[in-house]
């Protein structure tokens, strides 16, 4: 199992236990699997039933699956896992931004795939709060990378005050 790092509060990161069971495409959940992480297709087909059973649902989106497809289900989804098939494929940054800013999604957004600490800052800024690092990063290393920059220029999903607000004496 890869380590899971979760954001805790504003600047802290801790190692977390992954409560979500990742179901393979042909696998049925056990009765004690209360938290399920499944593909978008599987969620569309069977999500309704699992939610009715009182399970918490997580949905795994590949880079080609638009977040718009989840829009109406978001209030019932506890976790959205966005996949970086390659770390230089930046589509998940837009996906996370839209989830937070356009849809007001308040659940967990997890970075999965080729997740390197060099992306920590961008991921945190775009609204990710859960990470499966592929480079053995520790929570301390993750925090150092995420907050290496003392100032940022843009407003983003993390609500960090951008330079132009700081210069106006705000934030």
């Amino acid at each position: 199992m890869p380590m899971l790092i979760e954001r805790e509060g504003v600047t802290a990161f801790t190692e977390a236990v992954d409560t979500f069971v990742r179901l393979a495409e042909d696998e049925a959940p056990e009765a004690d699997h209360t938290d399920l992480l499944v593909s978008f297709a599987r969620f569309q087909a069977e999500g309704e039933g699992w939610l009715a059973e009182g399970r918490r649902m997580g949905v795994w989106l590949s880079a080609v699956e638009p977040v718009e497809g989840l829009a109406y289900d978001l209030p019932r989804i506890s976790l959205v896992a966005l996949e970086f098939a390659k770390f230089r494929d930046g589509r998940a940054f837009s996906a996370a931004t839209l989830l937070r800013q356009r849809y007001g999604y308040a659940g967990q957004i997890r970075a999965v795939g080729e997740v390197l600490r060099d992306l920590a800052k961008d991921m945190v800024r775009c609204g990710f709060d859960s990470f499966e690092p592929a480079d053995d990063s520790t929570p301390e290393q993750w925090a150092a990378s995420a907050f290496r920059f003392r100032h940022v220029y843009q407003s983003a999903a993390d609500r960090r005050a951008p330079a132009f607000r700081e210069r106006m004496g705000e934030g």
Partner: protein
């Protein structure tokens, strides 16, 4: 010059520290070369023929004298005494050691320079008019908007890993000195009938193997919404641009595939749904940026300088320099001086300690007193930099070519030098008039050959260097892509071919027509006949 505040300084310092950590992890093996490559590219570090090349950003082409000296120091200490000005107002050092790269970034940060996003699939250095703030043509100073874009695009969390590189140019003059129409986004600042400033937004221009001119998707974007609108364009591109094929990944391919109208509709939908207030700079910040450029203390001078007029009459070389290299300034008694780099040497200090880099690989001293012109010319002459050839046949754009670049098929610099020698006689060059020759050593088109009045593209034919000629391109406000003349010619036949093209032009030209105008009027035939006459 925009003066960095503590926040601006902190960003480039923190970036240099981050890169030092990444280099250490690469050298220790913690990062694979595959993982390190996109990271080093986003700091301008390329692996080239002779080792690493570092591309340094010169934001919108504007340098202080101190920054230029800083670049020279780096050239001496970490390179072999050279720097290469690029067509995107950057400078490249070709012999950088990976282990020294973090020190170079620190040395750059000391003079408020950096290599952030000079490569990689991200928003690159924004380019602009080298005569900004000095030409009377402009409706507003484009550097203010370039600086707003620089800050917005620097380490943007959403747009750091795009399908492909992304280049933005901003001009505020009717005469386009930025090649705006061959950029991913070209912005032309204008006033509408009500007097309000707005941008014409062109998208999907570009060169490379599939050249396109940009298409206008918005005629008059209110300036205060610039950043939110750019965000909308970038988001549509980040989400929907192709990532399966590097040659089809630029925004031009997406715009062509969707059609400009549909692309514009998607951008509008995105822009409408966006929280613009969070993204757009408030007026107070725009005013702060404008103020941070400072005030050039222009003297109150008469429009005609007796000193200069007398010197010009006495010295034909100065008169020629004034004819070709000196342009009108917005302030009476001042001039814009173009320094041709198509000759070796150093730059002396005049013009309020500010230097601009042009996309045509020259420098501009933006604010020189007419009274000082003779002294500036003398200083340039002493430094071997007084070539009076701006926009003439010997003022050639060339990429680094096979002498440096790992992508190139052919040499470019020696081809440029050979042509320049052919047209070195100043009277001959002046009688030919404006002639923009642009040379790329491969199909990636870094030398802008598609928009050369004469474009020259190096191609490899069974291990031999050949050169394809195109005619009639322009990167200016009358932008167009060149037409292929005919079969490629051998290395030693390029200069004779250009010679034949010029001879044909001189035979065909009417009145004060430029080469480009004559070509547009008469078409390919007489030029084709001139170059391939012997082949039949």
């Amino acid at each position: 010059m925009y003066r960095y505040d503590a926040i601006d300084k902190s960003v480039i310092e923190d970036r240099a520290a981050e890169f030092r950590d990444q280099v250490a992890r690469r050298l220790s093996g913690a990062l694979t070369e595959d993982q390190f490559k996109p990271l080093r590219l986003m700091n301008g570090l390329y692996l080239q023929l002779h080792g690493y090349m570092l591309r340094v950003a010169i934001p919108y082409g504007s340098l202080s004298a101190n920054q230029l000296r800083g670049l020279a120091r780096i050239g001496r200490t970490h390179d072999k005494g050279y720097g290469h000005f690029t067509t995107r107002q950057n400078v490249q050092f070709n012999w950088i050691k990976l282990s020294e790269a973090p020190d170079v970034l620190d040395a750059l940060a000391e003079v408020d320079l950096h290599a952030i996003q000079t490569s990689g699939n991200c928003i690159r250095n924004t380019t602009s008019d080298p005569c900004a703030g000095a030409t009377a043509e402009e409706v507003d100073d484009p550097r203010v908007w370039c600086e707003a874009i620089r800050q917005w695009s620097t380490l943007h969390p959403e747009f750091g890993y795009l399908p492909r590189k992304f280049k933005i140019a901003v001009t505020a003059s009717a005469q386009d000195r930025t090649a705006a129409k061959v950029h991913d986004i070209g912005l032309v600042l204008r006033r509408n009938r009500e007097g309000q400033l707005g941008f014409e937004v062109m998208v999907g221009g570009g060169m490379g193997r599939t050249p396109y001119l940009g298409t206008t998707i918005r005629q008059h974007l209110p300036v205060n919404h610039l950043l939110s609108y750019l965000s909308a364009v970038l988001r549509v591109y980040n989400r929907h641009g192709r990532r399966d094929n590097i040659y089809k990944a630029r925004i031009k391919i997406l715009v062509a595939a969707l059609g400009a109208e549909d692309f514009a509709r998607q951008v509008d939908a995105e822009w409408t749904a966006m929280d613009r207030q969070a993204v757009d700079l408030p007026d107070i910040e725009l005013a702060r940026i404008r103020g941070a450029f400072g005030y050039v203390p222009f003297a109150d001078l008469p429009p005609v300088s007796g000193v200069f007029e007398a010197a010009r009459k006495a010295d034909p070389a100065l008169a020629r320099f004034a004819r070709n290299n000196v342009k009108a300034h917005k302030v009476a008694g001042y001039a814009i001086v173009n320094v041709s780099l198509k000759a070796p040497g150093e730059v002396p200090g005049y013009g309020h300690s500010e230097v601009r880099v042009t996309h045509e690989q020259n420098l501009v001293l933006p604010h020189v007193k007419l009274d000082d012109l003779a002294a500036v010319h003398a200083g340039l002459t002493a430094a071997g930099l007084a070539a009076s050839n701006i926009n003439l046949a010997s003022d050639i754009i060339a990429c680094p070519g096979l002498d440096y670049c790992a992508l190139a098929n052919t040499r470019a610099i020696p081809v440029a030098q050979s042509i320049a020698r052919r047209f070195a006689e100043p009277d001959v060059a002046e009688s030919i008039g404006e002639l923009k020759i642009k040379i790329s050593g491969c199909i990636n088109a870094c030398g802008h050959h598609h928009v050369g009045h004469i474009g020259i593209l190096g191609v490899d034919k069974k291990g031999e260097e050949f050169f394809q000629l195109t005619l009639g391109g322009s990167g200016a406000e009358d932008a167009s892509l060149g037409d292929v003349l005919g079969p490629a010619v051998a290395y030693d036949q390029v200069t004779p071919a250009v010679d034949a093209l010029v001879e044909a032009y001189l035979r065909e030209r009417r009145g004060a027509e430029r080469f480009l105008d004559t070509y547009r009027r008469v078409g390919l035939a007489p030029f084709k006949a001139a170059v391939y006459a012997d082949a039949h």
